[in-house]
Amino acid sequence: MRREPSEDDAEVLLAMLSRTDDEALKSLLLEDLHWTTRNLEDDLRGQLLTRAAVLNLPLFAREGLDPSKLPSRAGIKRRPVDMLLITVKLPELRAVQLAFGIDFGEDPTLVDRQIRFWERDVEARYKAEPVRVAITMASFDANYRMAAFCASILTTYSPRYVVLVGMAAGVEGRVRLGDVVVADSVIDFGHGVLTPTGFMSRALSYSLDPNVARGLSFFDPHEHGWIGVVRELLAPFAEMEVVGSMSLPSGRVDLNPSFVRGTILSGDVLVEDGSLPAMREKYGDRVTALEMEGAGFAYTFDSNAIPWMVFRGIADFGGEGRTKEWQFVSAVAAAAALRVLVEKSFIFEYPESGF
């Protein structure tokens, strides 16, 4: 009789790995895990072996952490959620927490390797069961760090959809401050060749899953009271003295955002030289915004066959002397649009095929 192992067997081996400190036993378990996963799909195998590698990193020793004070990963199976929302910076996290009804002081549902996750159930119009949403923050910008972060959290979660929510620099004239851009594609503009005559672009483009793109084409948050939701969410902050990550624009603001579909440029540089219009000339007229994480995010989830979306509020125009006062507001607008999408659209109606 020949043993024909399955993914469940791999899960058992990972659990055993997480429970033992015996290096000899770990070594045998890893041998078995490599053999057990040999016939699984590449993506699945990669995820399982990544989890095994994570379990064996001398993480605690390296960071001087006390393992007993951290939540244990022992026996944790990947947590299934309908939607995993990823933010990068604190104003973005706060905006998403606000939109999804999570108090800023609320303890995370799960802490894994110091990554914090908050989970919420959201009632959705076209889904009998509540939509399970998990929210987290990557903490660091740049595409390579976002890719590593996304691969890492896939050892904890098994999401149906992932969304990158936050802020971006917009192309002035095409969008206004506070508008929300939803990506129909993300272009990694930093990829290229340095030649004697200068930089030759070999930009990489990542497109939405066609079903997701089709579904979004039917979605207009204005039809579902989006602007009212944004104003309601921000009203308490207008009446108080807020500093730091949740600061608001000074002076009177007439918040009337638009919801725009377009191409988002992504690269590991912060643009403050006003070059965005020129970049639009170079990469096409659908270029609407620019940020620093979308390409790493899209590539990681494309690799794992998980449909992704990018929602970005416009916080500045990438010009000299840019300020941060629109960051929180624009991120709230983006998060609120996403909340409306979850509650009102058909997104979860067909579980297996997307929209």
């Binding site: 009789m1 020949r2 043993r3 192992p5 067997d9 899960e11 058992v12 081996l13 659990a15 055993m16 429970r19 033992t20 015996d22 000899a24 036993l25 070594s27 045998l28 378990l29 041998e31 078995d32 053999w35 057990t36 244990s72 022992a74 026996g75 944790i76 199976k77």
Partner: protein, 528 residues
């Protein structure tokens, strides 16, 4: 007279009483003997001078009677060099008439030194009384078995005990218990909601001792009928398969005590999770207030482990592992969960008994300890695994393994005991010789390795032509191939190979099916 003096006389009397035709005598000093307690415990270490003198006197007696006998003394620990018993009996030890052997197969005498697994098996075979056979044949399954609780919480026990392979031994022990009772029993009442294996032995023992038998729900009716016919109160033997906390048993005893016709109740559990003695013991039952609420005799003490649902290691909750079915085995092999759970229990050890032609495999599961705790279960699974290939009864199939490897030797012992199999061990030097030889020439084998050797005689006299080759694991397959070539040269048909684990499923292939309880591909080891 002191106990040790009594022991001295007891040894002399016993050995002198042996029939004069006997050429070899066995003296077992390794186990407790109730007739000599408590002082008998004192001689478990180095042999007492009284025993040393007794052995010397016995040899003098035998010499006076013209008897050139051998005496094998089974001890818990072989006497260390310089021990009085070795000095006192040095002449007999030197010429091989006297040998000390311990339970691990270590010996002192003319042949002394390292551990010999086959000697350990021989010692166990000699010593195997009914309780020992019962212990060896009791199938202990490891898994996750739902345990009933008083509230809504889930609880699991890690072992399931199945005595269906040792019904003969259980019945014999029951009959002994009935025979030794101070007050004869009138009726046997038994309760076995989860363990049908006790029913046969209980009914057999009750029938052979002409006792009435009843389940608890029928006990009142049966008792009234018997008491009416007898004209006096009844003595009840209440038998249960297992007693743990004793709460259920106390409830049963209370119910029986309330019967007007019952004057005495004696409780007997086949297995008990508590008690001071490992076997044939008696323990108190403690009620909720902490008071003694009676006693229960038991045949064998066993270990059980309970795990509640909140335990982080509770696999059915944490991993979604399906709880095990007490009535059904999970197939012939071991699941990933079962195998690594066993390894976690038994631990690892550096590979010993490494063939000379390859590097050690590093750490391997401690198969000895695995077999010690769960041997009959694993052997039963192996027997199921080879069933498709072995068309004859196991008694008519020859099982062949390399000699000198402790786990294989223990596997063979259990195969004999559980399946009644014939087992032959081939000495390692023979296998080593065959590995380097392109052809197997039987005349050369006979010449090199002695004729008649026990293993050669066994192979030559075997009435079956069907063979199963077994070993603890497959690493390179060279040992098994050498055995197969040898057996083929003898005219046997190798029908399959059985191993506990296959470490080379991707690189080692045989011409016959390989049945392993578990397998994964380890990094191949280079030949030396």
């Amino acid at each position: 007279m002191t106990s040790l003096r009594r022991l001295h006389d007891y040894v002399i009397t016993g050995l002198n009483a042996i029939d004069q035709k006997a050429e070899v005598c066995l003296l077992d000093l390794s186990g407790p003997d109730p007739r000599l307690e408590p002082s008998f415990d004192q001689i478990r270490g180095a042999t007492e001078p009284f025993v040393a003198d007794a052995i010397a006197e016995v040899f003098d007696n035998w010499a006076g009677m013209g008897l050139a006998r051998r005496l094998i003394v089974i001890v818990r620990n072989t006497p260390p060099p310089g021990d009085y018993v070795l000095i006192r009996n040095s002449a007999m030890l030197a010429d091989g008439r006297l040998v000390f052997v311990d339970g691990d197969g270590r010996s002192a005498g003319q042949v002394s030194g390292g551990r010999r697994p086959e000697m350990a098996v021989a010692v166990r075979a000699v010593r195997e009384d009914r309780v020992e056979r019962f212990r060896s044949k009791l199938v202990v399954r490891r898994g996750w078995f739902e345990h009933e609780t008083d509230d809504d919480t889930r609880e699991f026990v890690r072992k399931h005990f199945d005595g269906s392979l040792c019904s003969v031994e259980i019945q014999q022990l029951l009959e002994e218990f009935i025979d030794q009772a101070e007050n004869p029993f009138d009726v046997v009442v038994y309760d076995s909601p989860l363990s049908e294996w006790v029913v046969g032995p209980i009914e057999g023992a009750a029938t052979s001792r002409r006792l009435a038998i009843a389940r608890p729900e029928d006990a009142a009716l049966v008792s009234r009928e018997i008491a009416g016919a007898k004209g006096s109160g009844l003595a009840v033997l209440l038998v249960v398969p297992m007693v743990d906390s004793g709460t259920t048993l106390q409830g049963l005893m209370s119910a029986m005590e309330s019967e007007p016709d019952v004057t005495s109740i004696r409780a007997l559990a086949i297995l008990s999770t508590r008690g001071t003695r490992e076997e044939l013991g008696e323990r108190a039952l403690v009620d909720a207030a902490g008071d003694c609420a009676g006693t229960v005799a038991y045949m064998l003490r066993v270990e059980q482990q309970r795990v509640c649902e909140t335990d982080p290691d509770c696999d059915p909750v944490q991993l979604g592992v399906n709880p095990d079915d007490r009535r059904r085995e999970n197939g012939a092999g071991l699941t990933t969960c079962e195998f690594w759970d066993l390894v976690s229990c038994a631990g690892l050890k550096p590979e010993d008994d490494v063939p000379r032609w390859r590097e050690p495999s590093g750490y391997v599961p401690d198969f000895d300890r695995m077999l010690e705790q769960y041997g009959s279960w694993l052997v039963m699974k192996l027997a199921i695994a080879v069933r498709a290939d072995v068309r004859l009864l196991s008694q008519d199939t020859l099982y062949v393994a390399p000699a000198g490897e402790s786990a294989s030797t223990e596997l063979g012992r259990l195969l004999r005991l559980v399946a009644g199999a014939q087992v032959v061990y081939i000495p390692r030097p023979v296998i080593d010789f065959l590995v380097g030889q392109p052809d197997v020439r039987l005349d050369e084998i006979r010449e090199r390795f002695g004729n008649p050797s026990p293993w050669l005689l066994h192979l030559q006299s075997s009435l079956t032509d069907q063979v199963v080759v077994f070993d603890e694991f497959v690493a390179t397959g060279s040992t098994i191939r050498a055995l197969m070539r040898l057996l083929t040269a003898f005219g046997f048909t190798v029908v399959c190979i059985a191993t506990l684990t296959d470490f080379a499923p991707d690189v080692v292939r045989f011409a016959v099916p390989l049945r392993s309880l578990y397998s994964w591909q380890r990094p191949p080891k280079e030949p030396k």
